[in-house]
Structure formats: structure tokens, C-alpha cells
């Protein structure tokens, strides 16, 4: 998908650079700073593409209601003046809606209309920076190798408790690993997903999106534990290829709006 040859030597755009480009796009820079950026993108295709991608991100941030008030006003003055600009913002909003409903995007050619989500509102349970929560990651390494062959021979379901905490990032050594034996009978992973903040029982329903790498996410049902400290779900691991999986927990409010509440990572390992 990505031109891997472009990786070595290609400058990484740090967040500070994106911030500088947002200031450029919102006319917050001094004239000499503005001219310097213009001179760069006018002669350099890569620089032009980077400014354009920063513009995409700025439009996305506005469409999702993530800009602070002062910037929001500045954005509206500059980016909502013409019909084509407003169409770009509407496109960004539609793309955000569709991306959030990614699990429901049809693979077939025939499109299925989606209902738009409720307008963006401040999150009740904002996701905290997940990297800071990595310390809470609880790994449950399963000793399935010790399971009795006799037990495996029976067609009964063997349940395995897997406790996960939000926050592990890909590549971190502490991502919990579930060891699934090659000759597995019928296994069920009983997932206990710890939450950063307890959930009140206010009528929300919960689901999970299980995703490996860039594969299509698989939806799972989840339930709130009685104490509100965790979500529980069951997962049949048969058919899960080895690799790192991302599990996004979502709350669906009574009005139909969905909200991501936590992300969990774990690995499936087979002999």
C-alpha cells in the first residue's frame, strides 16, 4: 500500500510541523513565515502534498467538532466561504461517519445507505492517551499446553479467561498473548475488558470490533459487568490467525449514537 522505498530518508512530519501548517492555513503566521511555506510548496511536490494532508486533517478536526472555539471561528471564516469549501467539509463529515461505521461498509458493489450519526458532541468518557495506560496492561498467558488430551478429546467447550486492560500499543512487549494450541478442540475465550472509568448502568449497549492488521473488523457483542468496572464478551478463537488484534469497545447510547470507550490489544499465538 505504501511505497516502502520512500521510508528511508523521507522526512517524518512531526505534530509540531502539522501545528505550524495549521497556523499557516488559518492565517495565524507572520507574513515572512507564510512566504517561507509558500515558497516551499510552490517548487516541491512533496511539500505541497504535506500541506494538503495537513489541510485534510484540519477539515476533519472541524467536521468532528475538535477545534477550540477561536480556531473554529477562524476556520469558518476561511474555509466555509464558498460552496466548494463547504462541500469539502461535508465530505469530511461523511467520511468520518463512514469510517466510524467501518464494520458495516459492504464489500459488494451495491452500496447500502447508512444512517448518519448524531452530531459530534463532547465525549462523556473520553479516551485517555492510551500510551499512558500501558502500565495497566494485564497479560494472561494461558497454559493451554497443559490441558489434558482427554479433555480436548471431548467435544465440550473449554473456556479460557482472558483479562485485558486498555492501553497497550503495537510493538510493546507487554501486549497480552493468548497461546492457542494447534490441536484445539472447542475453545471459548471469556474476555474481561477492564475499563478506565466505571460505567454507570444508564441503558447503553456495548459491542466490540475485533480487527487484525488491515482486515475487515468483526463485530462482537459485549455486556457491562454488574460492578461497571469491566465489559465481558465471549470469543471463539478458531479461525483467528496468529498476529496482533485490536479490540475497540464501543458504547451505543439510547439515541443511537456510538462512542468508542477503550481499545485493547492482544496477540494470538499458535505453535
Amino acid at each position: 500500500v505504501i511505497d516502502r522505498d520512500a521510508h528511508p530518508g523521507r522526512p517524518v512530519v512531526p505534530p509540531a510541523e502539522i501545528e505550524r501548517l495549521w497556523r499557516f492555513l488559518l492565517n495565524e503566521l507572520s507574513e515572512p513565515e507564510r512566504i517561507a511555506i509558500e515558497d516551499e510548496f510552490f517548487v516541491d511536490d512533496d511539500r505541497l502534498a504535506i500541506v494538503e494532508s495537513a489541510e485534510d486533517e484540519l477539515i476533519d478536526a472541524y467536521a468532528r467538532g475538535e477545534l477550540p472555539e477561536e480556531r473554529r471561528q477562524r476556520f469558518e471564516k476561511r474555509f466555509l466561504a464558498t460552496a466548494s469549501q463547504r462541500a469539502r467539509v461535508a465530505f469530511a463529515s461523511a467520511l468520518a461517519t463512514l469510517a466510524a461505521d467501518g464494520a458495516r461498509v459492504p464489500e459488494a458493489d451495491a452500496p447500502t445507505p447508512l444512517r448518519p450519526r448524531a452530531p459530534t458532541a463532547p465525549s462523556r468518557r473520553r479516551l485517555r492517551p492510551i500510551i499512558w495506560q500501558a502500565a495497566m496492561a494485564a497479560a494472561l498467558v494461558l497454559g493451554l499446553g497443559a490441558l489434558s488430551p482427554r479433555l480436548l478429546g471431548w467435544r465440550r467447550v473449554t473456556e479460557i479467561d482472558v483479562a485485558l486492560s486498555p492501553g497497550s500499543l503495537r510493538g510493546e512487549p507487554e501486549i497480552p498473548t493468548v497461546h492457542v494450541p494447534a490441536k484445539k478442540a472447542r475453545l471459548k475465550l471469556k474476555l474481561k475488558l477492564k475499563l478506565v472509568e466505571p460505567l454507570r448502568d444508564d441503558g447503553d449497549t456495548f459491542d466490540l470490533l475485533l480487527r487484525r492488521e488491515l482486515e475487515q473488523p468483526k463485530p462482537l457483542l459485549a455486556s457491562r459487568a454488574p460492578d461497571g468496572e469491566s465489559l465481558t464478551a465471549a470469543l471463539d478463537p478458531s479461525g483467528l490467525a496468529p498476529g496482533t488484534y485490536e479490540l475497540t469497545a464501543r458504547a451505543r447510547h439510547r439515541g443511537g449514537a456510538a462512542e468508542d470507550i477503550a481499545v485493547y490489544l492482544f496477540r494470538i499465538d499458535t505453535p
Binding site: H7, T82, A94, G171
Partner: protein, 162 residues
């Protein structure tokens, strides 16, 4: 060059950007017919002319602020029906991408707020790509998608009008 000029004027906050880009190119063409033009750095020359055109435009525009502001605020807001149509067009246009690219594009645009940076870095890591290269790749795919959606919406509007 014209596309670049359009971006230049748009990012300077001008509205009729295509006219300004054409005006710039016309002036550049006229200047080039004169023998005393130094053509060692043509891009610098063009952007210099563009800045002059922008300055003149801003001076003229100042007299028309009240009129243009009034026009902008008088446009009808987008309705739920418009957005439903846009979503349907977007879904259709997404089918022009491979399944892998489609998932990549949606995953890249899915996370909100603080989670976004971590997820995008994770995607870049998985692809062994620099984050900047990933951004540019996503931007190019998005341009294709946006153009496709515009065509779909224009076609739908045309069929409704006929």
C-alpha cells in the same frame, strides 16, 4: 502550475481562486514576451506575480466584503437528505479501491481526538512507512474519493433536474 496557483490563492483566503490563477498566468505569459525577463527561477517569478495579483485582489475585495458575506450566509445549509446522499455516494466510490486500501482509508480516518495519533502511528509502523508518507498516501486516496463523490452528486443532481 495552475493547480498550484489555485492552492496558493485558496490558502491566502481568496475566494475566486480560479480567476486569480488565470489572471496570474496571463500576466506571466505577457511578461515572458518581454525580452528583459530573467527566467533562471521561473517558479519564483510566477509566485511573485501571484503575490502581486493577490494584493490587488485584496484591495478590491475590501470594497465588497459586506456583499460577499451576505451571499455566503444566504446559502441554504446542508440538509440531512444531502448528507444521506453524500454518504451513499461515498460508499459507492469506496468500491473503486481495493479491499486493502478501503480498509486502510477507513481505519486511518476512524479514530477521534487523542487516540488518532497513536492509531496512525501504529498503521505506519505496520506498513513500515514514515508517518509523513502515510499522510501523503491517504491524502492522494482522499482526493480520488472526493472527486468521485463530487461526480456522483453532480450526476444525481443532473438526473433529478432533467
Amino acid at each position: 502550475m495552475r493547480a498550484r496557483l489555485i492552492k496558493f490563492f485558496a490558502w491566502r483566503g481568496s475566494h475566486n481562486v480560479e480567476d486569480l490563477a488565470d489572471e496570474t498566468l496571463t500576466r506571466v505569459a505577457m511578461k515572458l514576451t518581454q525580452a528583459d525577463i530573467e527566467a533562471e527561477r521561473p517558479a519564483a517569478f510566477v509566485i511573485g506575480v501571484a503575490r502581486m495579483v493577490d494584493l490587488e485582489y485584496k484591495r478590491r475585495e475590501g470594497r465588497w466584503v459586506a456583499f460577499t458575506d451576505g451571499m455566503a450566509s444566504g446559502d441554504p445549509p446542508a440538509t440531512t437528505g444531502d448528507q444521506d446522499q453524500r454518504l451513499a455516494a461515498l460508499q459507492k466510490c469506496l468500491q473503486q479501491f481495493s479491499a486493502t486500501d478501503r480498509r486502510l482509508l477507513l481505519r486511518y480516518h476512524e479514530p477521534r481526538g487523542e487516540r488518532r495519533a497513536a492509531v496512525r502511528q501504529a498503521i505506519a509502523d505496520e506498513l513500515h512507512a514514515a508517518l509523513g508518507a502515510l499522510r501523503v498516501r491517504m491524502h492522494r486516496m482522499r482526493l480520488q474519493l472526493e472527486a468521485c463523490v463530487s461526480r456522483q452528486l453532480a450526476a444525481a443532481a443532473g438526473s433529478m433536474g432533467s
